[in-house]
């Protein structure tokens, strides 16, 4: 988001100015970016950098990207050291002035991870029900049976649409052989 839209956003929300939180020092971001770069650099250096007929080999571009990420990681660490501000983005429905809820974060993460484990043995509708109910719970819903049922119905509808009409492979309910 550019500075222009940022200031406009601030102007459109004349809400009471929240107490500015203590500046965060996200050292981890710089370290992660640099590590990402190292992995790519390492992977690229095991590939030929030059090719006889094409001059440039398959390794050159990935190596350049890895090196670039390494430099950017260092620059990010420098920015963090200089106290640059890393503020949460304004997104619809999100209230960035409040503290992030860890419980909601982990519940949503579970909504992404649990389906990976159950989709093959139990099929898509069950996975959808789990993902749906966990996400709903992260958003404060406390009607678990209703959420599970809603997710299951949505899952069945998607499964029917995709595997019957569009011919894409989604597992139905493997224990029953569908």
């Amino acid at each position: 988001m550019s500075a222009a839209t940022r200031s406009a956003n601030a102007a459109s929300r004349p809400a009471p100015e929240p107490v500015p939180p203590a500046p965060t020092r996200p050292w981890g971001i710089g370290v992660a970016v640099a590590a990402f770069g190292l992995v790519w650099l390492y992977g690229a250096l095991s590939l030929p950098q030059a090719a006889t007929y094409a001059v440039v080999g398959p390794g050159l571009f990935p190596a350049a990207i890895g090196f670039g990420l390494l430099v950017l990681g260092a620059l990010l660490l420098l920015a963090v050291a200089r106290g640059e501000r890393f503020e949460p983005q304004q997104v619809e429905d999100a209230d960035v002035s409040r503290h992030a809820s860890r419980a909601a974060f982990w519940t949503t993460l579970a909504a992404g991870v649990v389906p990976i484990l159950v989709i093959r043995p139990l099929g898509f509708p069950v996975a959808a029900a789990v993902a749906f109910a966990l996400t709903a719970r992260a958003f404060g819903s406390r009607r678990l049976p209703l959420d599970l049922a809603g997710g299951f119905l949505l899952g069945v509808a998607c499964w029917w649409l995709f595997s019957r009409l569009l011919g894409l492979s989604l597992p139905g309910f493997p224990p029953l052989g569908t």
Partner: protein, 495 residues
């Protein structure tokens, strides 16, 4: 054949019942996702990619274009009635539009937004009709080095313009480039960065990255910072139509907004933030009722930015169709969609697939009419979408994401990668990294690499070949200028 004859042919394609049906579906879907939070045109098109593989490409692109335009119409509705801009191009609309709505003039604001969008969308499409073939002709002059330079310019400007800082913009871009090189190298057949996984030989799936960044990342972010609470709708009472004065005050801002939006949208840094912002500032200065701005809400401040927003959407299509150069996240997805069908946008698309190109352009005219009809009288229906409880809305987004990713190839690895990319998307929102550069890097990166290697092969390894043509040298100089501009401006500003 001149452009008019081509366009007439395009209308013959776009007005077939089936293609009209796709335009209608796209318009409805686009308006709906424009109104709804948490899901935008880029994610929608990405999720539809696997579904549309078996469709005729012309029909698919007509639907995608209608989604792109429809999201613009829908986005203005939530800006005006709820003060929650669904996408960055609608932020300026919210400023005056929501003030008008609170004064009971919401209907007039919605009308000037919808009619302004129609006027701007139609005018911009007319310019597109005549400009695109001309630019496509120019593109024949581009050699590999020139294309590479053009892509470098696009990378640099998107990374510099969209982020809070250049370092964050470039970090996002390079992360995307890194994902783009995964898989089999098309020129030598070597596996690159697949970590020994046969499933990664095809590279990272775009849908996985899109769903991760937009659906999973956004859901995690919003869930952890969810304010709760119901939706406060401004009633649509009073002044249901635009008065004669509203019309008199709206038509000039519509035209000025179009004039700003189209050319800026067509530039490599493009986007809709800058033209809408400029339009707002200009209308504020020119308005005879300047005192209404920031108080009861001035209709010029809605009419101008909305027109600029829609004109920019048409402008984005110029470099995409003629040069294969995407300048926004949605355009990048459209480029990927072309590649899905084995099509490469550029001058040859105009020669080899006139049905598709001209059918698509003609469908933009049709889509604008459909959207005007869908949005003006039915706005009350769209607003009801906002009453969907948020837990169910985001639950649905997660389920659709899993369908899209697992439906690709029934791979749990894809789902795991989706969650991993989702965590990255979460972190990008928490620490304010722009997301569009990553997508552009991932989609455009492999093309940039191909052009670079082709250029270097032509130059027999000499890097000077990259600046040998005056065109590529000029484009690279421009890229350097964009890169250095913020620093220079900061130096010039008195401390």
């Amino acid at each position: 054949m001149n452009a008019l004859a081509q366009l007439a042919h395009g209308f013959a394609v776009a007005l077939t019942p089936l293609n009209l049906f796709w335009a209608l579906i796209g318009s409805i879907l686009g308006t709906a996702i424009g109104v709804l939070p948490g899901i935008g045109p880029a994610l929608t098109i990405a999720l539809l990619l696997p579904v549309t593989v078996k469709m005729n490409p012309t029909g698919a692109f007509i639907m995608f274009a209608a989604i792109l335009y429809g999201a613009m119409y829908g986005g203005s509705t939530t800006s005006i009635l709820l003060n929650t801009p669904g996408e960055s191009g609608a932020i300026m609309t919210a400023l005056e539009g929501n003030r008008m709505a609170r004064r009971g003039r919401g209907a007039a604001a919605l009308a000037t937004a919808a009619i302004g969008s129609f006027v701007a969308g139609t005018l911009a499409t007319i310019v597109l009709t005549f400009a695109a073939p001309a630019v496509a002709e120019l593109a024949f002059l581009f050699g590999p080095a020139d294309y590479f330079a053009l892509m470098v310019l696009a990378f640099t400007s998107v990374s510099c313009v969209l982020g809070t800082s250049r370092v964050r913009g470039f970090t996002s871009l390079f992360a995307g480039l890194a994902l783009g090189v995964m898989g089999i190298d098309a020129q030598t057949g070597q596996a690159r960065l697949t970590f020994g996984s046969p499933e990664l030989l095809d590279g990272m799936e775009l849908v996985v990255v899109m769903v991760g960044l937009f659906a999973v990342g956004e859901t995690m972010y919003v869930a952890s910072r969810y304010g709760g609470g119901g939706v406060r709708l401004n009633p649509l009472a009073g002044g249901l139509r635009m008065t004669r004065e509203d019309w008199r005050r709206s038509w000039k801002p519509w035209l000025r907004g179009t004039a700003l939006g189209f050319p800026i949208g067509a530039l490599p840094a493009g986007g809709s933030e800058i033209p809408t912002f400029l339009s707002y500032m200009i209308e504020r200065r020119l308005s005879p009722k300047r005192e209404e701005f920031g108080r009861e809400g001035a209709i010029e401040g809605v009419a101008g930015p909305e027109a600029a927003n829609n004109a920019a959407a048409a402008g984005i299509l110029v470099p995409l169709l003629t040069l294969g150069l995407p300048t926004s996240a949605t355009a990048a997805i459209l480029l990927a969609a072309f590649q899905n069908y084995g099509l490469q946008p550029g001058p040859f698309l105009f020669l080899n697939n006139p049905d598709l190109v001209w059918g698509l352009i003609a469908s933009l005219y049709v889509g604008n009419v459909l959207l005007l009809v869908l949005n003006l009288p039915l706005v009350g229906v769209w607003v009801r979408l906002l009453l969907i409880p948020r837990p169910w809305l985001y639950g649905g987004i997660m389920v659709f994401g899993i369908v899209g990713v697992y439906g690709l190839g029934g791979s749990e690895l894809d789902l795991a990668l989706m969650v991993a990319v989702g965590l990255v998307g979460y972190a990008m929102r928490v620490y304010d990294f722009p997301i569009a550069p990553a997508l552009l890097g991932m989609i455009l990166g492999p093309m940039a690499e191909t052009q670079l290697r082709r250029a270097l092969a032509i130059g027999q390894g000499s890097p000077w070949v990259l600046v040998e043509s005056s065109l590529s040298a000029a484009l690279l100089l421009l890229a350097v200028a964009v890169l250095l501009l913020p620093t220079v401006l900061r130096r010039l500003r008195p401390a």
